[in-house]
């Protein structure tokens, strides 16, 4: 009995640790604000700094603002959400309570909380990455023209495809969000060659579709089997399945959000043509700069090609004739300019 009791004690301590875990290693120099500069707080979403994705990208934006002297490092703080994300609102409140000039919430899941919180803190500006928070004088949603970046990677796929068929793997269907990626991608393919067929598969109609690499792999394999030689995914964590299928079927893959060549395994990155970059860092930097210049823009701020908000990835792994040759890059840059100049209008909804 006694040894059993001890086991439970240790268990309890361990469980408590895991229960309260996922806390928030806050990098935050002590002391209040220095000088007259602005103060910026970041509320990271689940995963926190080191997630090689959204949170890290937001952190890069903050670092850029620090490097450029827009905000003093001592005037920045951050809090990370816990594992279930139940403390997102509390973290935003804790930052707002500190009287920051700007609180950046990194992720759409903060939107509804900000709706409730923002009016209590009229002197604090809130920026929500990918947000859909309601209009308020001190709230800005930083959103991206994913269709424009997807257009470029679609064009790249069309230039590279030998089979005459390419694929699109979407995550959650029905919200209109992932459909933007599909619409841009298809338009990009057809801009280069209207005869290329685009196969489209969605994993599901719930957010679970973003964390289902098994189904992602199955649908990707199916599209490779059906003749596609390049597949672009906009499926979050399920995209890992695409990269596995690419290795299996020796097809090419296109990543999304961040430069996925950098985080893929060595055999996968040989097959990653490029990635559609969503420049969360640009958006965060921009929001900080606006507050510093007292020109914070409420409502929705969109970041497209013109604002460096989206792009295609070039890195040391794909910058070669086997993957993204210089000719392809030149043509993509020309298309990019056409979009910026308004010569090409990229659709946001797939053609019916």
């Amino acid at each position: 009995m006694r040894s059993g009791k001890w086991l439970v004690v240790v268990l309890a301590a361990g469980l408590l640790a895991s229960a309260c875990g996922g806390g928030s290693p806050g990098e935050s120099p002590g002391g209040g604000g220095s000088g007259g500069g602005i103060r910026v707080g970041l509320a990271y979403d689940v995963g926190g700094v080191g997630d090689k994705s959204f949170n890290d990208a937001a952190n890069r934006g903050l670092q850029q603002a620090i490097d450029e002297g827009i905000v003093d490092e001592d005037d920045t703080e951050f809090i990370e959400a816990n594992a279930s994300g139940s403390d997102r609102d509390d973290n935003v409140i804790a930052l707002a309570d500190e009287g920051f000039d700007l609180v950046v919430a990194v992720g759409f899941a903060f939107s509804e909380g900000i709706d409730k919180i923002a009016s209590d803190y009229p002197d604090v500006n809130f920026a929500v990455v990918d947000g859909f928070a309601k209009e308020a004088p001190n709230v800005s949603n930083l959103v991206f023209k994913e269709e424009e970046g997807s257009f470029l990677v679609g064009a790249a796929a069309a230039m590279k495809s030998e089979a005459g068929t390419v694929g699109f793997l979407g995550g959650q269907q029905g919200t209109g969000l992932i459909e933007k990626f599909e619409a841009g991608y298809t338009a990009g393919v057809q801009e280069v060659d209207p005869n290329i067929e685009v196969l489209v598969e969605y994993i599901g109609d719930s957010t679970a579709a973003f964390v289902d690499p098994t189904k992602g792999e199955a649908l990707s394999s199916k599209m490779y089997d059906d003749g596609a030689d390049i597949i672009y995914h906009a499926a979050g964590g399920s995209g890992a399945g695409l990269f596995k299928a690419a290795v299996e079927k020796d097809g090419l893959a296109i990543g999304v959000d961040s430069d996925q060549s950098l985080t893929a395994s060595s055999e996968q990155r040989k097959l990653i043509l490029t990635s559609m970059l969503k420049r969360v860092d640009t958006a965060v930097f921009e929001a900080i700069q606006q507050v510093a210049e007292d020109s914070f823009r409420k409502g929705f701020q969109t970041f497209g090609l013109a604002e460096d908000g989206v792009d295609y990835a070039v890195n040391k792994y794909n910058d070669n004739p086997q993957l993204l040759s210089q000719e392809i890059q030149d043509e993509l840059d020309a298309l990019k300019q056409d979009i910026i100049d308004g010569k090409i209008k990229v659709p946001t909804e797939p053609a019916a």
Binding site: L15, G21, S24, G26, G85, T207
Partner: protein
Amino acid sequence: MATAVSGAPKRSRSSRLELIGGQILAFVGAALFAGVIGGIIIVLYGENPLFVYATVLNYATARPEDIAQVAENATPLIFSGLAVAVAFKAGMFNIGVEGQYIIGMLTAAIAALYLDRLPGVLLVPAVVLSAVLGAAAWAAIPAILKVKTGAHEVVTTIMMNGIAISLVAWAILNPLKSTGEQSVDLRTNLFPGKALMPSLAEPLGLPSSVHLTLLFPIALLACALVWFFLYRTRLGYEVRAVGSSSGSAEAGGISIGAAQIKVFLISGVLAGFVGLNHLLGDKGYLGNNYEVGLGFAGIAVAFLGRNHPVGIALSALLIGVLIRGEDGIALSTELPTEVLIILQGVLILSVVVAYELVRRTVARRQLREEAVVEAAAPAEA
């Protein structure tokens, strides 16, 4: 012999006082020990432990809303600590408080969404009742399995936890999924306002970001009720008898199985309250971002509080201070907030060790005294 009999109650009372005094000393000593260990870790991170502890205390007590937030943090922990403790008193480990409160949130959400024609006066109690029934039903399964088949409750409740989490995930993905068009997040529709737990923040003049509700005084009331149940009712006596020595309890005519099932149901009822402050005082919907780990935290709270209602209330408040302190650590120091979790772990371990040392010391002394009395007895006679 006569002296021994008349001397026994006196001795047991003084030894009980000695035990309680010793336990308080043990707690203080253990807390100091944990503080020193935590201090060493903080120093290794290059920070000043005194400043860090002052920051924690400051964030937890500086303003009325900070104190209210500590009470808010403590509210679910009091319920989960009590739920663990009553089962423990009957010699059972309810590791399933976690799953029970998650199911309680689910049944509460169903009531809040579908009984919305009731007026608020009836709706809130109906939602609470629904949570309690759901959690108790979830607790009944392992209780019956234990009594009827001997399946150990630690194993079955852990399994039930996993099922509960999957069930909620399924429910908010399918039948309860929000019908709102823009919402990408996975959750139910918002509950009607009248289904929410009355807030204490507004009457106390606190900002609405504090989610202190009527559930906090209810939690304190629950402590009193659990104390009354354990120490002043027949079933409570039976429960404690079963827990301290099931053999003698059975010999004394107590049905062990019946007592265990009843107390496990009571544990489930208490577990039903655990998720309610989060659900009805804060979010107002059941989403996939609900708070997890409160049931497991209850195990720690019960241990820290020696399974006594008063101790549980105090240790829940202590953990509430530490949770609030995490904000302070994140905002005012360069420490990872995990330092406070390490501190909690060290505290629990050292408190339990200290209690055990005190218990043994007191028992050994008692034994020695008894030996002295017995040695003296023949001489008297």
